[in-house]
Each structure stands twice: as C-alpha cells, then as structure tokens.
Amino acid sequence: MKVVEKKRTRKDEVYKVIKADDKWEPIGHTPMPEIPDLRNWDLRLLKTYKPFYAPFCDLCCFCTYGKCDLTGDKRGACGIDISAQQARIVLLACCMGMSAHGGHARHVLHYLIERLGPDYKINLGDQILVEAPHIRTVLGMKPETLGDLEKVMEYAESQLIQCVSSLHTGQEGSALDYESKALHISMLDHVVMEVADIAQIVGFGYPTSKADTPLVGLGWGAVDRTKPVILLVGHNPVTAVPIVDYLNEHGLADKVEVAGICCTALEVTRYSERAKVVGPLSRQLFFVRCGIADVIVTDEQCIRTDMPIEAAKVGSALIATSEKVCYGLEDASKKAVDEIVSDMLNHSKQVLILDPEKAAEVAVRVALGLAPKRNKVLVKPEEVPELAKGHRLCNMCSQVCPNLLPVGDAIEAAKNGNIQPLVEVFEKCIGCGKCEQECPRHVPIFKMMQAAASWEEWKIRAGRGPIMDTEIRKVGAPIVLGTIPGVIAIVGCSNFPEEIEEIAEIAEEFAKRKYIVVLSGCSAMVAGMKKDKEGKTLYEKYPPDFDAGGIVNVGSCVANAHITGAAIKIANIFATLPLRGNYEVIADYILNRVGACGLAWGAYSQKAASIATGCNRLGIPVVVGPHSSKYRRLYLSRKEEDDWTVMDGREKKLVDTQEPSPEHLITVVESKERAMVTLAKLCIRKNDTPQGRQIKLTHYIGLHKQYLGTLPDDLHLYIRRASDIPIFFKKEVTAYLEKVGWKEKPVLSLPTLIGTYPSEVPIDAVVH
C-alpha cells in the first residue's frame, strides 16, 4: 500500500482534544488511553488479585454454533473456555453499566447545551477547583465548558465501541484480556458519571461547594397523599427539573406532591427540598401498587419494564420520557398539551413525551385533574386475614423468591391474624413481585404488605455532589498516614440479603469509629430509614462533613464519581501528584496509600458491576453482598501463598513486605458481621504510619473479637514492627505474636507497584 502523505497521528488528535498547549500540568504517559495503554497495569493487578469465577450458567448461547457446554475444561465451538466466557459476560455487564451512565450523561448534556450553549462555563463553586478529577486523570483534560464535556463523551463512546466489539464471537480468547477490557470500560464509567453529574450541577444549579445540604422527607409515609402526587421513577432529572419549575411558576409548589423512587428521587431533592424520596428501588413495585401516585413519570434505568401494566392496574397515569424506555407507547411529543391531557384524563391513555417541558406541564395538569377522582385508601392490618383467606401453604411464593424469603409461611400467619412474619418479610423484600405472580390462588401479597409496611417518615440529607478541595486538604494527611482509619463508601442498589436496616447499622458502626462514611444511591436512602431512641436518623445525628465520623450523601448513582474522585484528589491536593494523563501513578498511589473501601451490599445491576470494577482499576477494594456472587467474577488474593513484593520508590529496590494489603480487590461476604470485619481489614495500606496502623488494627481486632469471638488469625501479617501493636490490645496481641513465631517485617518509605511490571512510567514519577 502506498502511503500518500502522513496524516495527523493519534497523539496529535489527543493533544488537540486535551488542549495540550495549555500547560496547567505536565502530560503523563496515558492521556486518553486506549485498550492496550493500561493493559500492563491491569495484568499487574490481576497477578496479585486473580480473577475468581463462579459460573452462573455452564452453557454459552451467544451464537448459532451453540448452545455450547463449557463445563470444566470443555471449549465451545468457537474455542472459548468457561473462564473466558465468564470474563466476557463480566465485560458485557460493565459495558452495559458504562453505557447506561453514558446515556444519562449524553441526554443531560444535549438538553443543557440546547438551552445554555456549549460555551456555558463549568463552575463548581469556590471550594472546588479540581472540578473533574477523573477527566483530568484519564483524559488529561481540564474541562471548562459543557462543550468540553461533549468531547469527553466522544472519547468514551469510541472506547465503548472497541470493547463491545470484542464481545463478538471469534474475538478475544483470554480471560485476563477480557478482564483488562472490563477494567478499561469501567474506568471510563467513572469518567462518564463525572460528566453527568458536573453537567447536572452546573446546568440545574444543584448545591455544590457545601456540606450541609437540606434534610428532606424520606419514606412512602412522607408523601402527602391528600394532594395530587407525581411519582418520578428512574435516574435522569431532565424531566423532573421542569416539573418543579412548572409548579413554582404556576404557584402550585405546595399543592402538588413531587416524589421519587430510586435515583431520580435523589436528583429532584437536590433541586427542590420540597420533593420527597419515597425510597429505594426495592420499594418501587410496592409503592406503585399502593396507587398513591396520580401520575407516574418514568425516565431511565432500574424502572419496572411492566410499568404500563402496573400503572393501569391502579389507575395511575403514565408518562414515559426517555427514548431508551418507550414501552410501545404513542409518541405524543408533537401533540398539543391540551390534546394529550384530554387523552390521558378522558381515555386513560399512556404516552411517550420526549419534550421535557411538555412532559412536565402534562404531568402536573393530569395530576391535578386525576387526583380528585381517585381513591387512595390503604389496607389496614385488620383487613389482612380476609385478603389472605384463599391462601394454601403450597410455598410456590417462597420457592421463586430471589431473596429466599419464607413468604408462604408469612402469608399463612397473616391469614391467622399474625402479621409480624409479614412485617419481617417486607423488611427483607427486594420488591420483584414474583411471589404474587406465582401464587396459584392469586393472593394479593403486595396489597397485604401495605399493612405490614411502616408508614413512618424519615429524613435524608440531599445529595451534595463533589467532596470539597478544602475538605481534602484537611483529611488528606490523616487518611494517608492512617490516623483516620479509612473511608467507607456504602453504595449501590437495594438487593440486600437481609433487613434494609443493616445499611444504617454498618454506617453507624464506622461513623462511631471515626471513619469517614460516604453514601450514594439506594444505599444513601436506606441509611436514613432507621431512627434512634430519640427519633433521629443518621443524617440528623452525624455531621455531613467529609471528615472523621461524618456521614456524607454525595447523591445518585452518577455521583459515585465524586467518591472515587475524592481518592484521586487526595493524591493531587495532598500529595501534589499531577493528574494529567497520569492514571497508573494515581491508581498506584490510591492502592498503596489511600485506605478507602467500598461496600455494595445490595448490588444487582450492570451499573453496579462497572462502578465496582472501575473502583478496582483505581486501586479501591470493594466488598459485595451474597447476591453479587451472581456477577460471576471476583478479584481475590491468597494471603499466605501470594507474593506481596512491591518496590520501595525512594530506595528503588524490591521489598517482600509479606503483607496482604489490601487483601482482595473485590470479594463477596455473606453476613453484615463479616462485612464489617472485612471492611476494616481492607482499609489497611502499606503506607500506614505506626500510629495509623495501630488505629486501623484497633478497629480490625475490635470488630473481629466482637463478631467472630477471637483475635484475627491473620493478625501477624499486618504487624510490621512492635510499634504497630495497638496499645489497647497490647498484652494479648504480644502473646499471640509469640505463639505464632512472628518476626519483624520490612517497613517501606514509599510503597509502589511501579517498577514491578513493564511500564513507561519511571519510578521517580511516584516520588512527591
């Protein structure tokens, strides 16, 4: 092939996008990385934290060669084995998750750029100068306008195409390389989440540069059902915001209730403190079937795919507002508002409206028109036995329950006048409705749950967006030195294995121990759904600061980028490491120095998979609940067998630390007790000072003794010198160390993986 003329290289293109001439920081080795660019970092991580696969299905049914049985060492007709197939499905999940957040970001950006223009400035307030830690670190770009965020999206989308294409039959054959791609696209998930939330904050004027956001009403009991009720379901605020605006502009703000389920609730309460958070995803079907909503407005992600059927059952009007979720409805976007309202009120028509302002006006007018005609009476406890009278204990409901709950026994007890078992089932219910669907006698289980549910009102602090630079300056040193024992990020969905109160219990345990507790999404909601003896929720009891003992709600799913962003900011603001296209250095810093750990106790979605995997590439371990074993893959070490050699960055020599910190990158645990012990352990980092290590071990030992009854049997692995031994447990720990023949271990001045694998990054890059 004749090369006619040398065209622009990729480097030229990258440097143009990131405005390389703007010298705010030196450009690192991987600006706008493609799949191979961080592959060696991934392979280094996966050398220590090897993929662990638990196949959910032994077959592959992706192409017409199949079904192929991949059991054991069998390969499919294309040559794939069971490990690569699991990794392939993980990548697929991560691509779905990233594209869901990316689709959200794209929609918000389009909407805002149409109204505000591409040159609209990004300003997150006077306390936040590092406005986009992920975009700075991954792309090497400092976004200044909404238009810049579009360029970020174009890059992320180009990577998504490459990753999705690798899923095709006859492409990638290595499990490790599928994992590397999953890590790549999940890193970009945090980038697109950051785009979405920055755009929302600046475009909608959400709170920023402040910690004490308003406390807002939480719980289905917080919704005043004597008023017309508009229920928002999903994640995207593009229609929720105009609804609030319409109500304000027409003097209706105190006459109509606006409430949300799932993340749109968190979004709308950032915009209006009058709005209510009904609850997490697990309460969606329950609340819809209560019939309290006069109008249901759906946007995107985690919404019931049978919402038209459910809304019609209880006489709620339905407006779908996202091109991603059209439900087969007529597109009424171009019709006159009067006509749509008339169709909905007089003919119970459900519609798709893709014009947010029009959807907002229709929602309000239909709610006002419909509410007086509707009956919102809830089932009382004394009515439950009558509803259950047809019940026979066949236990089909129990058998189909994804949370393995004894639903049948609870219904039987309720039939006989004892509602308490049903109360307990409701507390653990994930809200899928399969029990009722399966019942051969059509017992209205969800209706009965209206009597079992608490109708109490709780409080949640509205999502506050990014952690402030000023907060990072204050806590950066204590976190890195270990004197703040860790940051516990409780995130994700509501597929909880046990009572939803467990989230509040775990959050409070760590807040009392002076960890920093950060929450988002459905987990942020349920953390507020418990009161102490004085009637206070966690959000009323603990300070909202990103500081020791604080409990912080950053916001919705896309606000998760601010949690990982805070870890990046520590590397930048406290350790003065440049972020620009410098991903390996920053991830290495976080892995070895920032004692942060995520907990996704009820993760269910593909978004949760990509969020967690993105944390992992950045060096943040994650603990997940038992349902998450169905994601099929974990990253685990074997503490006694694995090699824990790292580089001492200052001495430039390899050191066998013999210390498994952090022990895993993502692991499943079965009980909340074990989760707490594991979280405390996974906050230990090689960089801890003796004082910091003492504090971290005090909590690890304390929790281990409390819930497992003994000193940890791996304690000796985490004590480097006698000065690491916690004073409070000194006597018994010293005796234990003598018993196991403990010997002193090397202490490093600057632990790093850079230099232990092939990389263009020089060791000096980690020295700050």
Binding site: F52, Y53, A54, P55, F56, C57, D58, L59, D69, T71, G72, D73, I82, Q399, V400, C401, P402, L404, P497, P626, H627, S629, K630, L634, L636, R638, E641, T667, V668, V669, E670, S671, E673, R674, V677, T678, Y707, L708, G709, T710, D713
Partner: protein
C-alpha cells in the same frame, strides 16, 4: 428423565452436569468415611435454623465430632462454635476457602494436603450454588457434598428437597449414627 429442580428456583441449573441425589444416610456416611481429608464448611444459617429443639450449629458440631472432620467457620459462625466448645480449624470466609480449594497443591486447613471431600452446611442456597459451581468447574480434584435440606445442582452429592424438616432431621440423625459406627 425428569429434571430435578432446586427448591429455590434462582438456583435452577443451566448446564449438563448435575449433582447425584442421595437420600440414604448410610451412603452419605460411607462417602464421608471413605474420604481421606474431608472438610466441613459452615455458613451462618447454622446460627438461625433449628431442627426440633436444637440449633443447626449443634448438629454441625456433632457431625464434625462423629467423623473427626475439621471445620472451616465462614461468615460470623466462629463465635458460636467457640461457645459450643469447638475450635474451628479455619476461619476463612466462604469465597476465600473455595478459592483455596481450587488449587490442588494447597495444603488444606490442617496443612496436611488439600481436601478430597468438602461438605457444606448453612450457607444461603444461592451463594452456596455459586461456590459449588466454582468447584465443579475448577476443582476436578475434589468432590462436594451438601447437608442442607435443599437440592444443590452444582454439588457432587446433594440431599433432595425435603418437604418437611422432620425428614431432614431424621436424615441428619441417622447420618450421625452412621458416622459413629465403624465400617468393616
């Protein structure tokens, strides 16, 4: 051939290799006794489930003692086992012990070599099935067995779905009795 469904439908098998259902406690006992290095892995449901007057944890301890099987106490089960006077040989969590068991060269909880029979009791069924799936695919060097009252398709040997707890209790009682009896 009709397909046996697990009690919890989320655990339905999508594959071709399923557990052998064994209803005879003497056959179970024989398999356990025949094993060179069995291991009993206990999950947190032993702390909340009861059979008759006795906590499932007490049954677990009796089985371990009857056949001299070392215990791996997962989740937060260790504390109760200590209260019952039993020192577990290991305190790995469920996924961690499975991760070790995958390796044929691993030295086992007693440092005597990897285990050839791993018996599970008290793990939630969905997590248990996933863990058993890992061992089915990646640990051909060992067999797995379940003692819970449900059918586990991914195990090597499983009990059937017992409709009544009394059936399960009878099975465990007879299993213990058989384990205490020396084989010829």
């Amino acid at each position: 051939m009709t397909m046996t469904l697990p009690y919890h439908r989320v655990n339905v098998l999508t594959g071709t290799k399923a557990a052998r259902i064994i209803e005879d406690p003497s056959e179970y006992a024989h398999l356990i006794k025949r094993a060179s290095r069995p291991l009993l892995v206990l999950g947190p449901r032993i702390l909340t489930m009861s059979l008759g007057e006795r906590l499932l944890a007490e049954y677990a301890v009796e089985i371990a003692k009857a056949a001299d099987i070392p215990i791996c106490a997962t989740a937060h089960t260790q504390k109760k086992l200590l209260e019952l006077g039993v020192q577990p040989a290991s305190n790995y969590d469920l996924i961690e012990i499975i991760n070790h068991l995958k390796d044929p060269e691993w030295r086992g909880v007693k440092k005597e070599g990897n285990h050839d029979l791993v018996i599970f009791l008290g793990v939630r069924t969905d997590l248990g099935e996933q863990g058993l799936s890992t061992l089915k695919h990646f640990a051909p060097h060992l067999k797995t067995m379940t003692l819970c009252k449900y059918y586990y398709p991914n195990a090597s040997y499983s009990l059937p779905n017992f409709r009544k707890d009394e059936q399960w209790k009878e099975f465990l009682d007879k299993l213990i009795e058989n384990l205490k009896t020396k084989e010829a």
